[in-house]
């Protein structure tokens, strides 16, 4: 009996003039965690989405256990033994937890056209208990749960029927440490059962630790498949980028004096149910990091400082005495904010890259008669999209057609174009590939040196340690500790204050 679970044979897919996949061929074995890596726009998600029935490939074949599969949608893919956990939210509001788990598979609970809701809830509760997610209740509306818990529901939904292949597409970046550990546990369980995980991640240490085999794609072309035990991080970077990725990844300076000039003062800030009595100062030319567990309240810090929190109490004051209580005041005073929830809070999905990049800068881009020049907007958008190495056909392309990482680049290009003095960056490198990550870190360092101040909120402890002058750790909505930049700080020093 063959050990090959999936044969990918000359699979191609185009979007307009973009060749997302070009004759990609490789094999995936049974009972392994097979990582799929590559830069943003390299075709990883396009390939797995085609396998899972979300997209339809133009050419080529997928052979699952020797049999051709070409699912028209996710349910057909499930029936073939393929499931997927997507990067963004994959559950539906307005339905219960149980209805979400069994969506498209209700037939097992339907008799004479009538759905047995009690049986469905019972079965869902059994599954949730089996996975150790007892805190989630099957009859509850999914809307009552946060992003993290909804991802746990997705894990159950994608794996409860023991599929032959489970695709996990860049899901870990959306999860806190506990969520990741839970996902890793499930990945190992799937492998132990003799099934296969296709694991997409930009986190190379995570890829090396978790996977058995790694396939690299670049610009929609298959590059190589290697054993995880036979390669290191630098080797992977070289395969992904096509050249040696040399030079420092994070900042290398230590002991540099941060300016004493305070550009933003946060006093007694409370957002009911999220953060309590938060006090700190941001200095000129400083990168101030915020870390903690996903639900620690750290993600609210950016919103609170940007005037975007609801029912916020306390004061956020700039050096000139301006109080930041709303978003227009924040933007008018050169403050930029990027949200963790990129698709819902940062991007206008059905608008062009040009419109998204130019949006906060329209005032500066208009002439004395308040008229906008199409040419000027386009060249402005092109300049900053290119600066961020955004993979696109043109700036007229809709943002919704971009890969996750490229969407993030558009968000950052917008604020770099705006030339803001204070940047509030929530998870700025989420879903970003290694090369652009390096570019962003370099850019942040340049901004810092030019006197701009940055608040960096991140669940990536290594990037906080590598980039920040100071790290504030949040726990249960409150500040639970502060660490100054030092070569001696390691992840454990941060984790000790997080949990």
């Amino acid at each position: 009996m063959s050990d090959i679970r999936l044969e990918v044979k000359k699979v191609s897919k185009t979007f307009g003039i973009t060749k997302a996949l070009q004759d990609v061929s490789f094999n995936i074995a049974k009972g392994e965690i097979h990582a799929l890596i590559g830069e943003n726009g390299s075709g990883k998600s396009t390939l797995t989405n085609s396998l899972a029935g979300i997209y339809h490939k133009d050419r080529g074949t997928f052979l699952l256990d020797g049999k051709e599969v070409d699912p028209a949608n996710q349910v057909e893919a499930n029936n073939e033994g393929i499931s997927i956990i997507v990067q963004e939210l994959g559950t539906l509001d307005g339905l219960t937890v149980a209805e979400n788990i069994f969506l498209g598979h209700e037939e097992q609970f339907v008799k004479f056209g009538i759905k047995n809701t009690a049986a469905m809830n019972r079965k869902a509760n059994e599954l949730l208990k089996k996975y150790g997610f007892d805190k989630i209740k099957a009859p509850d509306m999914i809307d009552d749960y946060n992003f993290e818990d909804r991802k746990l529901v997705e894990i159950v939904k994608a794996t409860y029927f023991s599929p032959k292949i489970v695709v996990i597409d860049e899901t870990t970046t959306a999860l806190s440490r506990e969520g990741r550990d839970e996902l890793y546990k499930q990945m190992k369980r799937i492998r132990e059962e003799g099934n296969t995980v296709i694991f997409i991640s930009h986190d190379l240490p995570e890829v090396l630790e978790m996977s058995d085999t790694i396939t690299v794609l670049r610009d929609g072309v298959y590059i190589d498949t290697v054993k995880s035990s036979e390669i290191d991080e630098d080797g992977l970077k070289k395969l992904m980028v096509g050249r040696d990725v040399t030079g420092a990844y994070y900042r290398t300076d230590y002991g540099e004096e941060v300016s004493s000039e305070v550009v933003m003062k946060v006093e007694d800030v409370t957002v009911p149910g999220l953060i309590s009595d938060v006090n700190f100062e941001l200095h000129k030319g400083e990168i101030l990091g915020f870390g903690g567990l996903s639900e620690s309240g750290m993600h609210e810090i950016g919103k609170a400082c940007f005037g975007a929190s609801f029912d916020r109490e306390g004061r956020v004051t700039l050096a000139d005495g301006t109080q930041i209580n709303d978003i227009p005041t924040a933007i008018a005073h050169s403050i930029a904010y990027t949200s963790k929830d990129r698709d819902n809070e940062s991007l206008v999905m059905n608008q062009s890259i040009r419109d998204n990049i130019c949006l906060p800068s329209l005032k500066e881009l208009s002439n004395k008669a308040h008229m906008l020049s199409d040419k000027k907007l386009k060249s402005f958008a092109e300049e900053f999209a290119k600066k961020m190495s955004t993979k696109m056909q043109s700036v007229d392309q809709f943002v919704s057609n971009l890969s996750g990482g490229n969407k993030q680049k558009v968000v950052l290009a917008r604020w770099i174009g705006k030339d803001s003095d204070i940047l509030l960056l929530d998870s700025p490198t989420r879903g970003i590939d290694i090369k652009v990550k390096q570019d962003i870190y370099r850019l942040m360092d340049e901004m810092r040196k030019s006197g701009k101040s940055i608040i960096m909120i991140s669940e990536e402890l290594t990037e906080l340690i590598g980039m920040c002058d100071r790290i504030i750790i949040m726990k249960d909505g409150r500040i639970n500790g502060e660490l100054l930049r030092s070569a001696d700080i390691d992840e454990n020093s941060l984790i000790a204050k997080m949990v």
Partner: protein, 320 residues
């Protein structure tokens, strides 16, 4: 700081929903009872207001399937008119009696729904525009069938216009809607499509099929409403020039109640009680002898306030 709660939250949500509706009934009744105590709000009066509210409530529970999916229907009034006229013709002219009245009206309503859904799905034009255009056609068809003459239902065929016939038919309709919404795939898919059509499609749900089905269900319920309407009022005039649009208002408002109380897990009871509140206000104005224009202004404002207070959109939630 997990926002997740246990199942108790849902139960209390339902109780809260019923309490809110009860308060609305009491307030609307109380205001008019204080202003005009003699000719408004006796138990007998209240029963007749409730009977009148059943008409629109039946149409509204069907229309809810369309609205939850994020679509709209401007041909509600034309559908009711056409279905009532066809039902009346079947019962009267073809001598099919109650069978002809009920089946004729429901079938016509469902066919109108099918046409609405099919045109909307095939032409890929916003549902508001499609149904507005089709409403003009339905009005003309009704006028043609009626021969420009008012269609009257004989007195021996009006059992659905009074107790207990109207109540029995309405309760059957509510039970069917409840069953469809809570105990069939149609209900689950209706909410799924309303929540995120793209994800629903990826889950193998035939989105267009269920959209058309929602229009058919809505149409069939409007057919039942047509039976109740012509039985209650005894006749129907086939108006043209979009005059049938005036019949859209009450079922649509009831549907808004359903949408507002969806979060409490009780859209159908909310529609039924909501229509009752609308009728209490309506009959209150009649008891006051207020001019129609004043009635319309105050009714419109009162309903906007009710929906605003009960909907209570979460902070940051986008309303379109």
């Amino acid at each position: 700081m997990n926002k997740a709660e246990n199942t108790g939250k849902r139960l209390s949500g339902g109780v809260k929903g019923y309490l809110l509706l009860l308060i609305m009934v009491l307030i609307s009744w109380g205001i008019f009872k204080i202003i005009t105590p003699d000719n408004f709000g006796s138990p007998k009066n209240m029963l007749s207001y409730f009977e009148a509210s059943l008409l629109a409530a039946v149409g509204a529970v069907g229309f809810y399937f369309v609205m939850v999916m994020g679509m709209f229907d401007f041909s509600i009034g034309a559908n009711i008119m056409l279905s009532a006229i066809v039902g009346c013709v079947f019962a009267n002219r073809f001598g099919l009696g109650y069978f002809g009245l009920v089946i004729g009206a429901i079938l016509t309503g469902a066919i109108v729904g099918l046409l609405n859904g099919a045109f909307y799905v095939k032409l890929r034009i916003p549902s508001m525009i499609v149904t507005t255009g089709l409403a003009l056609i339905y009005e003309s068809v009704a006028n043609f069938i009626a021969g420009g003459v008012e269609q009257t239902l004989p007195s021996d065929l009006r059992a659905f216009g009074q107790m207990p016939g109207n109540l029995i038919l309405a309760v059957i309709a509510f039970a069917v809607a409840y069953l469809l919404l809570n105990y069939t795939r149609i209900g689950t898919y209706t909410y799924a499509i309303g929540s995120n059509e793209f994800v629903a499609k990826n889950m193998g749900i035939k989105v267009n099929k269920y959209k058309v089905l929602a229009f058919i269900i809505s149409g069939a319920f409007l057919g039942v409403m047509a039976v109740l309407t012509i039985s209650y009022g005894s006749s129907m005039v086939a108006v043209t020039g979009m005059a049938s649009m005036s019949r859209n208002f009450v079922p649509t408002m009831g549907c808004f109640f359903g949408l507002a109380f969806k979060k409490y897990g009780m859209p159908i009871p909310a529609i039924i009680i909501g229509e009752f509140v609308i009728n209490i206000i309506f009959f209150g104005f009649i008891a006051l002898g207020a001019p129609t224009a004043v009635q319309d202004v105050i009714t419109g404002l009162a309903l906007l306030i009710i929906v605003m207070l009960t909907t209570k959109v979460a902070k940051g939630e986008i309303v379109k």
